[in-house]
């Protein structure tokens, strides 16, 4: 499986500010995925990020709130814009298995608290 590193691992953010989360993978991958896990909840897919194209957002998530960059095949960023306490969540980067593509692996997550 790929090694996935996320930064920051934790942060406390002020309401109204924006924060960019970085995801670095140790191998080239076509797709990267961003998930959100709100407190006590399951994982919800925010968007799929393909290198060289616009990210594809799931229902309920919009680019203005969660802009994503994918400058190369090993790196992506997710920005949480104009944060409110409702954005307090774990944000997880994930990538599919290189051989089958049907298994996804996760980074350690970025734990954000908005105050």
């Amino acid at each position: 499986s790929a090694v996935i590193s996320q930064k920051p691992s934790r942060d406390i953010c002020q309401r109204g500010t924006s924060l960019t989360i970085q995801c670095q993978v140790d191998s080239q991958v076509t797709m990267m995925f961003w998930y959100r896990q709100q407190p006590g909840q399951s994982l919800t897919l925010i968007a799929t990020a393909n290198q060289g194209s616009e990210a594809t957002y799931e229902s309920g998530f919009v680019i203005d709130k969660f802009p994503i960059s994918r400058p190369n095949l090993t790196f992506s960023t997710l920005t949480v814009s104009n944060m409110s306490p409702e954005d307090s969540s774990i944000y997880l980067c994930s990538v599919p298995d290189r051989t089958s593509g049907n298994t996804i692996y996760f980074g350690e997550g970025s734990w954000l608290t908005v105050v």
Partner: protein, 115 residues
Amino acid sequence: AQSVTQPDIHITVSEGASLELRCNYSYGATPYLFWYVQSPGQGLQLLLKYFSGDTLVQGIKGFEAEFKRSQSSFNLRKPSVHWSDAAEYFCAVGGATGGYQKVTFGTGTKLQVIP
């Protein structure tokens, strides 16, 4: 649409006792099924997966799961639980038609292990 149901939100077992976590899925074709574990403060780790073949699959940390098509279930089992198994467990379902398909997660089961 694919979905996953984990009927038990919280389970408590004694150390050394056996464990079974329930998972039921809904998917229109042959599913890919996964179990992930999330330890406190950690990201998600893949425990095991089922794609095809033998319906009893072995995973890491002594876990196993059995795919039962007739019951649309993929229950996770462990014969003897260790205190370090205390964590949250997520069942997930994905497509099986080649390439990457969207993975949907259940709401999770939190496991507490008592001495």
